[in-house]
């Protein structure tokens, strides 16, 4: 009887693992290989000899380090000010710093155009002419859009530094500046490197901002888009996608290696967490000034959108109107976005829950490989995933194009690594003993999973659902290749409106999308009672 029970649960466990692996093979590996093998060698050669491609690649390799470096500096100062000063308004600053996560990144570009564009509010106000379209505009917009991610990752590391180390440095004779350079900065370097790679992947594969603001200054993702939409040149697009993927994959592998060899985690236990040594004087007020300026800038970005949603004709006629809000009636964009995000968020969280227990925690042949595949979507740029799904699922054996299903699946796959990492972080923390205790007391593997592991992963489930929902609802780069007539999303609609010059409609959609996202996060944090901390990603 008992033996029978064990055998049955063993098979069930195996079945789950096999199903998970099947899913990963079809929806992660297949699209990737479909893209890589789609162009012939000749297509690769043509693509790499075309001046347009070379230009786009050069631009991408120029803007990525530039934006990443800026974002890191901004994020570091912000995070440092949060943890090492007692300046006023820290909570308010933190709130503003995290706002850009709640909106599609390219919303910043839209707002930037409303502020500094040819008919922009500030342009008009100051009466000057400048050109924000091009790399300078892109640089600034990306710096704001990707700043929160760097801030969060760096803040997490700074918080984890044992403040006694800094006290020890002071105690041995180091002044504040010296302590910072010799202790704080080196100890935060693993987080800094991690943040740099994450932001670099984001900037490198960013599609929304360049298409809106970089105009005639193509980068890789916009060039790929142009090949698909403008020339219907799928071979050429796929070849460029390969370049994109190889680059992000290298960054991803470096990041993974860097993380695993990180050795600065607390060495001795039972350290009493004391307050950080605080920075005072001029430094503190300089940081306060910086944080205030940056927070006001973010407020300006989102305030402009809200005002834009109620303005007759931006830059020409400033009278108030509600007419653009009519776009929400009868349009399927926003409801579609919400539905997609709900399903993709839930799906990714459920998948990761099972994957973390039946791939990460089990031993079987090829485990490491499938663990890697589960994390792989982190390194896959959205635009690659979009085209990958398009190529993989528009011909037999799998025909999924032309509906919401393919969009849900692609967004789900894109969200898996986040949720998976969050679960793993918790599983690592609690260690295997708890589950072993359940087995020891007579629970079968499935029971131990249901009774012990799942409840422990509840918080990471909720937080990764929220994060997944936000990422899906704000996504543009994937869904733009998968929409079909009548089945669009809010983000695609916004892009369309901007390109047709309907800034009012774009502002309405952006505001509505942003407000909805804020509402969802508010509800989720009320549920999890963890405020904005749900954004702090698992390692």
């Amino acid at each position: 009887m008992r033996i029978n029970c064990v055998v049955r649960s063993f098979n069930l466990q195996r079945l789950v693992t096999v199903l998970l692996i099947f899913f990963l093979a079809i929806f992660v590996l297949f699209p990737v290989f479909r893209i890589l093998l789609y162009p012939k060698l000749k297509d690769y050669m043509i693509m790499l000899s075309r001046p347009g491609s070379i230009r786009a690649i050069k631009h991408s390799f120029f803007i990525t380090p530039l934006s990443t470096l800026t974002v890191l500096c901004l994020g570091y100062i912000f995070a440092y000010a949060q943890h090492y000063t007692n300046m006023p308004g820290k909570r308010v600053f933190k709130f503003f710093a995290l706002l850009p996560i709640l909106s599609p990144p390219f919303i910043i570009a839209l707002s930037w155009i409303l502020l500094f564009g040819p008919h922009g509010f500030i342009t008009n106000f100051l009466g000057i002419r400048w050109n924000i379209f091009g790399w300078r505009g892109l640089w600034m917009v990306q710096s704001i859009a990707f700043f929160p991610y760097a801030y969060l990752l760096i803040a997490g590391v700074l918080e984890g530094i044992d403040s006694n180390l800094e006290f020890a440095a002071g105690n041995l004779g180091a002044n504040g500046l010296r302590t910072f350079w010799s202790i704080t900065l080196p100890l935060s370097s693993p987080g800094l490197v991690n943040a740099a790679l994450m932001v670099a992947i984001g900037v490198f594969s960013d599609f929304g901002n360049p298409i809106l603001i970089a105009g005639g200054w193509p980068v890789l993702p916009t060039e790929i888009y142009r090949r698909v939409i403008g020339y219907n040149d799928l071979e050429g697009a796929a070849a460029l996608c390969a370049v994109l993927l190889v680059s992000t994959l290298i960054l991803f592998l470096v990041a993974r290696k860097g993380l695993s060899s990180r050795s600065y985690v607390t060495i001795t236990g039972s350290a009493i967490q004391t307050e950080k040594p605080l920075v005072g004087g001029i430094t503190k007020w300089l940081m306060f000034g910086f944080c205030s300026f940056f927070s006001l800038l973010i407020l300006l970005v989102y305030g402009t959108l809200a005002v834009g949603a109620f303005t007759e004709t931006w830059g020409v006629n400033w009278s108030l109107t509600l007419k653009y809000w009519r776009v929400l009636r009868g349009s399927s964009g926003l409801p579609n976005s919400l539905l997609l995000a709900l399903l993709a968020g839930l799906g990714a969280s459920f998948f990761s829950l099972f994957a973390s227990c039946f791939i990460y925690k089990r031993r079987f042949v090829g485990k490491q490989f499938w663990d890697f595949v589960t994390l792989l979507p982190t390194a896959i740029p959205g635009i690659f995933l979009g085209i990958g799904f398009l190529l993989a699922f528009n011909t037999p054996p799998f025909v999924l194009t032309g509906g919401l299903v393919i969009m849900v699946l692609s967004l789900l796959v894109w969200n898996i690594p986040l949720a998976y990492q969050a679960n793993i972080a918790i599983l690592e923390q609690i260690g295997p003993e708890i589950e072993e205790a359940a087995l020891n007391l007579g629970a079968s593997l499935m029971r131990a999973f249901g009774n012990v592991t799942v409840p422990l992963l509840r918080t990471s489930f909720l937080s990764s659902f929220t994060m997944g929902f936000l990422r899906a609802v704000t996504n543009l780069s994937i869904v733009i290749f998968l929409i079909s007539p009548g089945q669009t999303t809010a983000t695609v609609q916004i892009l369309g409106s901007v390109r047709y010059g309907e800034l009012g409609i774009a502002a309405v959609l952006a505001t509505a999308l942003f407000a909805t996202a804020l509402l969802i996060v508010g509800m989720m944090s009320f549920l999890t009672k963890k405020s904005m901390d749900i954004f702090v990603r698992g390692r």
């Binding site: 044992d162 180390l165 006290f167 020890a168 002071g170 105690n171 041995l172 010296r178 060495i267 039972s270």
Partner: protein
């Protein structure tokens, strides 16, 4: 207050929120001396240490080292080297660079630095370990690196915050002896924080016992053991036999007490006032009590009849709990036992083993 004292702390006070972590503490210490702040967790001893180091600002009071006021000096100019409970070794630096850190800041030349680091590492028997990473060291080795890092800068005062609490019991005693030997060898003024009374007694010239932010008693280990000022102190230094007694008679040399277990004789301490009829609390040192099956010939001053309730055999001694009367149980530590006794017994002890406890502070 001694104006010449090397370490002088006056009316030190620190409030965290609503709790008074350190409440009006004053104490002094000699140059080259070893002072221990002893107390349970939350008694404010670590906060005092952190105030001396400058990590925490006091709300009131002054601290002096060698006549110089510390209060307004920044952390890095205080010349107080600290050994942290968690060691706080820099994980990104190897052993050499951890120890050399303070020397580098003091602009000691490269060659001199090397020499000095080697010297202190030799003191703690870590020579040849210069290039090890911190994560490659055992707990005991990390502890020594932490100590040598602090010693390297030749501090005016060495501060140690429960430095042995992360070591296992056996290692703790070894390292304790090494610390004592090193401290005496170098003649370095030390302030030590611990909750372990054995550690405090074996290391210190002077012990300050703390409770809830207040100083309970300060004195040499001998003074504290033989004259604990109140029940908390007596309890904290592991005295277990507390007896409520009534004074029957007082004469020149001794006092006769009436206790539930019978009449007991106690030395009369001249400095204190005793009156017949007064109720007092006394303690009887458990290692001073002898347990016999029959009335011993040389019985000492006090002999009581009793019955062994429980015993615990600990190798070099047996601990008995002997019931000697209504609600009066004495614990007895019998060293070098010949055999384990049970049942009805006699206990005997000198009148010097019994002394009064007053609930007073200071």
């Amino acid at each position: 207050m001694n104006e010449q004292a090397f370490i002088r702390i006056e009316h030190l006070t620190k409030v965290f929120g609503k709790t008074v972590a350190v409440n009006d503490i004053s104490l002094t210490g000699e140059k080259g001396g070893f002072i221990t702040l002893l107390g349970p967790s939350g008694s404010g001893k670590t906060t005092i240490l952190r105030m001396i180091a400058g990590f925490v600002q006091p709300d009131e009071g002054r601290m002096y080292i060698g006549g110089n006021l510390l209060n307004d000096l920044p952390v890095h100019r205080r010349g107080t080297a600290m050994v942290f409970q968690s060691y706080a070794l820099f994980p990104h630096l190897d052993v050499f660079n951890n120890v050399a850190y303070g020397l580098k800041l003091r602009k000691v030349s490269r060659s001199k630095r090397k020499e000095q680091v080697e010297e202190v590492l030799k003191l703690v028997e870590l020579e040849g370990m210069e290039n090890r990473q911190i994560s490659q060291l055992s707990g005991g080795q990390q502890q020594r690196v932490a100590l040598s890092r602090a010693l390297a800068i030749s501090p005016k005062v060495l501060l140690m915050d429960e430095p042995l609490s992360n070591l296992d019991a056996k290692l703790r005693i070894n390292v304790r002896n090494e610390i004592k030997a090193l401290q005496q060898h170098l003649g370095i003024t030390t302030i030590y924080v611990t909750h372990d009374q054995e550690e405090a007694f074996s290391l210190s010239d002077k012990i300050a016992i703390m409770k809830e932010g207040r100083l309970q008693q300060i004195g040499t280990p001998w003074e504290i053991y033989h004259n604990p000022r109140n029940k908390f102190i007596a309890d904290f230094i592991d005295m277990t036999n507390f007896v409520e007694a009534k004074i029957e008679t007082v004469d020149k040399e001794s006092i006769i007490l009436n206790t539930p277990g019978g009449r007991l004789a106690m030395f009369r301490e001249r400095s204190l006032e005793f009156l017949p009829g007064q109720n007092i609390l006394v303690t009887i040192r458990s290692e001073g009590i002898r347990v016999k099956k029959y009335i011993p010939v040389s019985s000492g001053d006090n002999v009581l009849k009793g019955e062994i309730k429980q015993y615990s055999y600990m190798g070099k001694m047996v601990k008995y709990w002997v019931n000697v009367g209504e609600g009066m149980t004495l614990s007895v530590e019998s060293l070098n036992p010949e055999k384990i006794l049970t049942g009805k017994v006699y206990i005997a002890f000198d009148k010097s083993c019994i002394y009064p406890i007053f609930d007073k502070i200071g």
